[in-house]
């Protein structure tokens, strides 16, 4: 039932955004930001359930907790960067959006270094 509310809210908001866009484009942009935030805040408890389930799975498979937290960090960075760059693209400034994506990629690479090192060590151990 939740999805029906969300889709209804988005349709109403889109109509309002189109209504306001030709007079006050800046307020229309802020409305699209607000509706994105509202939907994410509604989905928080579902996301938390998924995060907890993944963490329990990794506990059972006794994967090192560090790697799982890195994966969650990367997911968080990717979500925030995607949110920001979509808003900037929506506003028409796609150059700023690509800067956000560039920064996010760099953060993710930096974050994933420990995992890369661990894989390298593993491979070196396997090779004779």
């Amino acid at each position: 039932m939740e999805i029906i509310q969300i889709v209804g809210l988005c349709l109403v908001t889109t109509i309002l955004v189109v209504l306001i866009r030709e007079d006050r484009p800046e307020i229309a942009l802020q409305m699209s930001i607000v509706v994105g935030i509202i939907i994410f805040l509604r989905m928080i408890d579902q996301i938390l359930a998924v995060v907890e389930a993944l963490r329990d799975l990794s506990q059972k498979a006794n994967i090192n907790n560090l790697y799982i937290s890195i994966v969650f960090k990367i997911i968080g960075i990717a979500y925030i960067a995607e949110f920001g760059s979509q808003i900037c693209k929506d506003a028409g400034s796609s150059s700023i959006a690509s800067k956000i994506e560039l920064a996010a990629k760099i953060f993710i690479i930096v974050l994933s270094f420990p995992i890369l090192m661990a894989v390298m060590d593993l491979i070196l151990q396997i090779l004779p």
Binding site: I27, V34, L48, G76
Partner: protein, 65 residues
Amino acid sequence: MEVDILFKIAAIGIVISILSKVLDEAGRKEQAQMTTLVGVVIVLMMVIQLISQLFSSVKTMFQLY
């Protein structure tokens, strides 16, 4: 739960656009600019509160410290 904020912003946007049109017709261009500025600033304060709420919830959820 924050749906009313959304409709408040839409109402402010509509009021501001009508007000600036009326002021333009009345010949007071600078006051029209002032009202649009005030409208945008009010909406921006609401949006910034929501954005900080979003960022803090994402930070706690994904341990992004």
